[in-house]
Subunit: 323 residues, 2 copies
């Protein structure tokens, strides 16, 4: 199985330019943000989101070239993603992300709020300057979804009665919307036809959902060195993900523990035991595989190229983190 770096190799140079450009855009003239930007954009991010936007952009380009607007779109995607991470870490009171200290714990809450706002502000400014009102709508919908997703996640903590569709909807808002809408926006900038735009959206939506379900499984099985955060952290925070919801269908005892917010001594361990001895992890894997398959199917129509091959291999890669 290839690594993500190998998969993104067709746009490797473009991604290096992107990171430099982001550091320039954000840090310039603001010592506080300079440090935060350096910290954020160097912190071992996989650049999966802008990588996907760049691969799509090249895959649908007649001569595999990359316009300035497509580059800017990829940057905006990463800015929005980073801004939401910085604020989410404040809201979730997380001190670590992927093995690196979060901005508010490395600096403080003030800097984290400022840095996130500045990144959101920069992204909406650059977005407006793409001069395409359809692209502005797609990406401003993403910003709405991210805020709504974070709110929903916080509202539904320890709610053992929540439906599976609420979980999928929350995952769409927090993870898939950004990828789906930025893939579609790349197509809008290239002026491709409406049905193809929808397929790009489906590709992004399904790979995003696959990615989120895999992340949620890894929070339990934790065999991913890249995760870098304590295992079962979602459940401990009261966030009920696919493995928990599947386990709740099998074993009603689990809801007793969750309803009392895992407050008693062995609750978290007992809950973990119920989940791991159920069919929940296997069912979650099948769910992730399903999303991955839908994702691949949505871009079969792309013309053959190294970019298409990379895009087709990405859903497989997302799943490979499980093994």
């Amino acid at each position: 199985m290839k690594t993500v770096t190998e998969l993104l190799q067709p746009v490797e140079k473009d991604l290096e330019d992107l990171v430099l450009e982001l550091k320039n855009l954000i840090g310039a003239g603001h010592p506080i943000l300079q440090a935060a930007a350096e910290h954020l954009f160097s912190a071992g991010g996989k650049r999966l989101r802008p990588g996907i936007v760049l691969l799509i952009s090249k895959a649908i380009s007649v001569d595999s070239s990359l316009s300035t607007k497509h580059k800017r779109l990829a940057e905006i995607t990463e800015m929005i993603h980073t801004a939401s991470l910085v604020h989410d870490d404040v809201v979730d009171e997380s001190s670590m992300r992927r093995g690196v200290e979060t901005v508010h714990s490395r600096f403080n809450t003030r800097v984290a709020v400022l840095a996130g706002d500045f990144l959101f502000a920069q992204s909406s400014w650059h977005l407006a300057n793409l001069d395409n009102v359809d692209v502005v709508k797609l990406l401003s919908r993403v910003i709405m979804d991210l805020a709504e997703g974070e709110i929903k996640q916080n509202l539904n903590r320890y709610d053992s009665g929540q439906t599976f569709s609420k979980y999928i909807n929350k995952s769409y808002c927090k993870t898939a919307s950004l990828i789906a809408n930025s893939c579609k926006a790349a197509g809008v900038l290239s002026e491709i036809s409406g049905d193809k735009l929808e397929m790009l959206y489906e590709f992004g939506k399904n790979i995003g959902l696959a990615f989120q379900v895999v992340d949620d499984i890894l929070d339990f099985t934790g065999n991913d060195k890249q995760l870098g955060k304590p295992a079962v952290s979602d459940l401990a925070s009261g966030y009920l993900t696919a493995p928990v919801l599947y386990a709740l269908e099998e074993n009603k005892n689990l809801s007793v523990l969750i309803n009392r917010e895992l407050a008693e001594k062995d609750d978290l361990n007992d809950a973990l035991e119920i989940i791991m001895s159920s069919g929940a992890i296997k069912k979650s894997r099948i769910l992730a595989e399903d999303f991955a398959t839908h994702s691949k199917d949505a871009i079969l129509w792309l013309p053959e190229s190294e970019y298409k091959r990379a895009l087709m291999a990405l859903p497989e890669f997302v799943l490979s983190r499980l093994y």
Copy 2:
């Protein structure tokens, strides 16, 4: 002298609709935000910003009617303003604003970050749906300016060497940009000519700067019941405003106190004494009057109407808070 409620009387009904609409838009379906929205949009705000947008919109309309887009623009203006206040209060660690508890002290930092993000997200979503890329650019510039202004304010704390133009620039970013660009955006939606758009921008910019200088004076003279925050709070936080900068020009001893961040026992009182016994307050008043005059001059060309009369009286009203 008229009160602000009397001045805004020509758009009183429209402002009532706006507050209802904002509460609906923000609160719907989110219990946490419902409470925050109720708190925010009921908290004795003067609605000066949307009031100005509505007055301008009616003043430039042939039949004094208000389009849905103009109404939406006024709502967006208030959303952006409120979002920035909520996050500024987190950054500045303020517990009170205009006599009312701030969101992060009434609820907590998590809710304040979420509520601010949600308001920014809503505003960029509604902005995109105005379907006018020029308006999107104007207002996304405002969001950039607000973030930059807050950063600059924090960077320049206790910097007794800062220039007057830095102070004006910071005041533009934090206060005037929103009013200037939303006045201009109202003109763009009405498709008025370029030179008139610039005049609307000048009106908003100058009334915004007048407003800020008056606020900064009141932080020292504090005879405004509406201010509702402890006097000299700016100086105590290290924010150097017009009165301080004028006093620094007259008395170099002040810089000694400021350079050591007013850290010794009587420093704040001593600094206050230097400022109040200098010509700084008088000079600051003249500065505010100057901005107010420029503001009025910029809209002399508007056709006669009750809306124009209200707009012409507003700069006077801003100054009247000083007496």
